[in-house]
Amino acid sequence: MFESLLFAVFAGIAIGCALGVVFHRNPVHCALLLVGVLLSVAGIFILLHAQFVAALQVIVYAGAIMVLFLFVVMLLNIKGETPLLTPGAAKGFGFLFALIVFVELIWTAVQPGSEGQKMPEAVPLPSDFGSPAALGRVLYTVWLYPFEITSILLLVAVIGAVVLAKRKFF
């Protein structure tokens, strides 16, 4: 009961802030509302016994990435756009395609499956589920090579960001 209540609260905050991100005029407010979405999703992660992922979400997303966003918004001194949305037919098609995507996602989530079978019951969790130790054990054994390749990806991103920020284009 208490879990359902927390889920409803976090889900409501997340959806409300997400709507604010998309429909608010001021980019600074958009960024701060996005922090609200990220924090409430972190709360839902904790409801799902994913403590370490929730901590990562708060530190990496709400900490590092959002600071980068706010820094760029304030560096560029972007005014609120007028008009807010793309004009004319593009806006209508945007909402139409989003509606199609939504119906498709909901249909995939609620349909009973091709042979009519139900979703399997939740498996009982081991006691260390979601802890840093359990995640590290899987990450450094099964997923060791993808983890190492991720470091190369981040190196490329750092070099790319420096090159893009330094040179003059166009």
Binding site: L38, V41, I44, L47, V72, T86, A98, V142, L154
Partner: protein, 103 residues
Amino acid sequence: MPPTVPLVWYQILAAILFTIGVVGVLVRRSALVIFMSIELMLNAVNLSFVAFSRQHASMDGHIFVFFVMAVAAAEVAIGLAIIVAIFRNKETASVDDVHLLKG
């Protein structure tokens, strides 16, 4: 302790957040807000991964979330550098004003 909130509710929440992100990408004009909408969609997918991970009592979903976060960080660094480069040259951050490839 069995979960009291069924999996399908997490899936529906993820679908709603993802759709709001899609709307943002399709109808907004500011490149920065489009980037924030992409982060919104990535978060919806992360939520879906973690919910399935809890359902199957497997840590693999958490690993995927870890990699998605790393890719998102790289993507934001590069994307914001591109936005800054465009703004320094064209004094705009609106995607409607950037049409170099249009001929």
